[in-house]
């Protein structure tokens, strides 16, 4: 029932002296407190404070990240990309603005890296005017540096932004060229290799819709995924929107990456399967570091408190 795996703390970064030292200090301190608690001694609140401070600042200073176990809802997306035959076509929708980017950009990055590493082909689309700039930035930052052999038009193509909201989706689900006669650089789609044999969205193999507003992932599910013969859709959304997407899982969406935790889980899954990405920044995992450590420390303190409480026999005193 419980998938018990050891915490693979150093799985990604190799052996890192500051990380080891800070974790040893925190871990050693906790051990000392455990021994004290077993002797029924209470811990001074200042010691609690010191541990919280250390648990939050150490991951910030040394970029300590923890392994996240991907939940089935995230794993669904990962495994789909993993198991599709090579050269599959994946549409990546950038439907967000800079304000939402800290939460959802990590997801887009992770999925792009994963798909390119699997030698899939990518089609970028944005329904948000603000999304195109983010899309261009992402492409120019990731692809030339990490996948220098990938070529625009053969391995990936950016269609850019098109106004019209869900109306655009409704057209491209039956005819892409009607809405996008050319790509973002003005090359006619008929001249682009990726679009050989692609008439509509029904001919692509998967859609990864990243966003959080309207139009966004939900519209991709309703207008493209649910259309007869529509491709499978996976979504990456901000944490506040995630609950609204759950009802569509698992029938209408492949999987959901919700908030920074979803991003961290995907990144973690990616790092396990593709050690080549160990050098890349993993903002999702990085932002989860202080959270995980602090939660573990607080839980440990609750347990210590109860140990001291029962061993000290104070539970027999009548109170409350």
């Amino acid at each position: 029932m419980i998938p018990f795996e050891p915490i693979r703390l150093f799985a990604f970064g190799g052996f890192n002296v500051p990380i080891v030292i800070s974790l040893l200090i925190i871990g050693g301190g906790m051990l000392w407190l455990l021994i004290r608690s077993l002797k029924a001694k209470e811990v001074d609140r200042r010691i609690v404070f010191v541990f919280i401070f250390a648990a939050v600042s150490a991951p910030l200073l040394f970029e300590i990240t923890f392994d996240e176990t991907a939940t089935p809802i995230v794993k669904g997306v990962f495994e789909k990309i993993e198991n599709m035959p090579e050269r599959s076509r994946i549409v990546i929708a950038f439907d967000f603005d800079p304000a939402m980017a800290p939460e959802v950009q990590p997801m887009a990055n992770a999925v792009i890296r994963h798909a390119l590493a699997k030698n899939h082909r990518l089609i970028f689309i944005s329904l948000w005017a603000t999304g195109q700039a983010l899309m261009d930035k992402t492409i120019s930052e990731i692809i030339p540096a990490e996948f220098p052999q990938k070529q625009d038009g053969i391995d990936y193509v950016s269609l850019g932004y098109k106004a019209g909201n869900e109306g655009v989706l409704n057209v491209i689900v039956s005819n892409v060229k009607k809405m996008f006669p050319t790509d973002v650089n003005g090359v006619p789609l008929t001249d682009i290799a990726i679009f050989n044999g692609v008439r509509s969205m029904k001919d692509v193999d998967m859609v990864m819709a990243v966003g959080g507003g309207k139009p966004g992932p939900k519209e991709w599910v309703l207008f493209v995924g649910d259309a007869p013969g529509g491709p499978p859709v996976a979504v990456g959304v901000a944490a506040v929107v995630a609950p609204q997407m759950y009802p569509y899982y698992p029938k209408q969406v492949l999987g959901i990456l919700g908030g920074i935790k979803g991003a961290a889980e995907y990144e973690s899954e990616l790092l396990h399967n593709y050690p080549r990405f160990a050098e890349q920044d993993t903002p999702g995992l990085r932002m989860m570091g202080p959270q995980t450590l602090a939660h573990v420390v607080i839980m440990a303190f609750i347990i210590f408190g109860n140990l001291a409480f029962f061993i000290g026999g104070r539970h027999k005193e009548k109170r409350l």
């Binding site: 098109k162 106004a163 019209g164 869900e166 109306g167 057209v171 009607k178 809405m179 006669p181």
Partner: protein
């Protein structure tokens, strides 16, 4: 004078732009080049009426969606949106222009008055011999061939004086024009009704909104404010039409025209009858039980741990010779939780006066401070110790959440109160206060109606009044039996709730078994309109 010129220019521009807009509808060129769409079927059964239960200025339209609606799998699925059109007289557009101009004139008034003193001080600096434009607080426009760092004094002074003169003139002009524009504008608003009555002459159709495919109604919610661009006059004949639009905005189908429709305000909101009934029932309950209590009937109230703790805690403080800290929270004096807290404060203050302990009440809101002073003062009088009362027991700290917390934390650690009482509205600071109090070793009693904060008080305080218990405690500690009458009314209302919920459950089961629709309609009884 330049000002009037600017206005004239603006007028010309506005006229030009609106003329252009009329002649050339902006087309989505990309779509026009590539997509050719057949015109869809129009919407049918368009009806419109005044929105009920409102203050007027709103019309509700409903229609049957086009056969070619995107959501209808049977048709072409080419309708991307419904564009709602309204007939507006040319005069209405003129009123819009007037409104914009009035806003501009009104707003231009302020910068002039802000910049004038700058020019004044620049002039006096020029007199003192400053010649560099960069050093002046006001950057004047100078001929291009002048060296900006060393301008001849005369030229600089002359330019500044000219600027000043223009500005003074503009202030006068704009002051007058604000008044003129305003009265002209208001007169024309009054004439709008007559202008709408000239339908279908002297006007054109204007888009007022759009609805996504699949929808069959639209609320034209205008504003009642004449100065708002959405202003919609009441008791005026209005005409509407709904266009079914495809992805190409030029390809659409018009519906039949509906009208004339008039909007007006109502005197009774029928959607709120259920609230009215509840108000009456609840008031009757309360008055009934208060009368019973007044008649001397004993009303049982179950013991609450927090209430008993208050008295014990005061005794403890007296024994230790330490003060009691009473925190009223961040609520305003009119918040119900704060008012309940005042009643508890009066009881605490009376006890404190009797035991001759010290009381500290730092407050967050100045009006709360005023009331709390009054409450504490009269409690001391009731206790027969008016001389022990001094104004500084209750004092104002600041109206900033965390600054207040910082100060109360300081009080807790420096004056080490034996007991801290937190009653009222609390937000994120609840845990900071309660933990600091625990650190200082005080007994802590809390009560709040902020649901999100109750967990923190429950965890960190010795006694917590959960939600409604705060009000019960207030009624209980208020010391007057008639206050308890309302507790009884509250319990009856709760019983009513339990009964309604069980009846609802039975009805839903009956609906599942019998399939009779009526059994689910009862939900509508509890619907309150906005």
């Amino acid at each position: 004078m330049t000002y009037m010129l600017r206005i004239m220019l603006l007028l010309v521009l506005l006229a030009g732009v609106s003329g252009l807009a009329q002649d050339q509808p902006v087309a989505d060129t990309a779509a026009a080049d590539t997509a050719t769409v057949d015109p869809p079927a129009p919407v049918t059964n368009l009806t419109g009426q005044d929105r009920d239960n409102d203050h007027g200025h709103a019309i509700e339209l409903s229609w049957t969606p086009s056969v070619d609606d995107l959501e209808n799998p049977a048709g072409d699925r080419s309708v991307m949106r419904y564009r709602v059109m309204m007939w507006r007289p040319a005069f209405a557009f003129r009123v819009d222009t007037l409104r914009q101009m009035y806003e501009m004139v009104r707003n231009s008034y302020k910068p002039i008055r802000v910049y004038k003193p700058l020019v004044d001080s620049a002039l006096s600096m020029v007199e003192q011999g400053v010649t560099s434009v960069a050093q002046l607080p006001f950057k004047v426009q100078l001929p291009a061939d002048v060296d900006m760092t060393d301008v001849p004094q005369d030229l600089l002074r002359q330019t500044l004086e000219d600027t000043l003169e223009t500005m003074v003139g503009q202030v006068e002009v704009s002051k007058d024009s604000v008044k003129t524009f305003r009265s002209t504008f208001l007169d024309s608003v009054d004439a709008l009704t007559a202008a709408y009555a000239t339908y279908p002459n002297n006007g054109r159709w204007d888009s007022i909104g759009a609805e996504p495919p699949g929808s069959g109604n639209f609320r034209h919610a205008g504003s009642k404010d004449e100065f708002s661009p959405d202003f919609l006059p009441d008791h005026t004949d209005l005409y509407y039409r709904v266009d079914a639009v495809t992805i190409d905005p030029d390809v659409y189908a018009e519906s039949e025209i509906v009208g004339p429709i008039q909007s007006s305000g109502q005197w009774y909101n029928t959607g709120r009858t259920v609230v009215l009934v509840s108000v009456i029932i609840f008031t009757i309950f309360t008055i009934l039980f208060v009368q019973q209590a007044r008649g001397g009937k004993e009303l049982y109230v179950r013991p609450l741990a927090g209430i008993e703790a208050v008295d014990d805690a005061i005794g403890r403080a007296t024994e230790m010779g330490k003060p009691i800290l009473y925190v009223l929270g961040l609520g305003a004096a009119s918040d119900i939780a704060t008012i309940a807290s005042f009643t508890i404060l009066s009881r605490v203050a009376k006890r404190v006066a009797e035991y001759q302990t010290d009381l500290i009440v730092p407050t967050y809101d100045p009006i709360v401070m005023t009331v709390a002073q009054e409450v504490v003062k009269s409690s001391y009088m009731d206790a027969g110790r008016p001389d022990d009362y001094h104004e500084d027991m209750v004092y104002f700290v600041t109206q900033s959440q965390f600054a207040y917390v910082a100060a109360v934390n300081g009080v807790m650690l420096r004056q080490l109160p034996a007991t801290n009482v937190y009653m009222g509205k609390f937000y994120a600071e609840s845990l900071i206060l309660a933990e600091t109090g625990a650190l200082a070793g005080s007994i802590q009693i809390a009560g709040t109606d902020e649901i999100a904060q109750i967990p923190f008080f429950v965890v960190a305080c010795d006694f917590t009044l959960i939600g409604e218990e705060l009000y019960a405690a207030s009624a209980y500690l208020g010391g007057e039996p008639i206050l308890l009458g309302s507790l009884k009314a509250q319990d009856y209302a709760k019983a009513l709730f339990v009964i309604s919920a069980i009846v609802g459950f039975v009805f839903l089961v009956l609906h599942d078994i019998t399939g009779v629709e009526w059994f689910t309609n009862f939900k509508e009884w509890y619907r309150v309109s906005d």
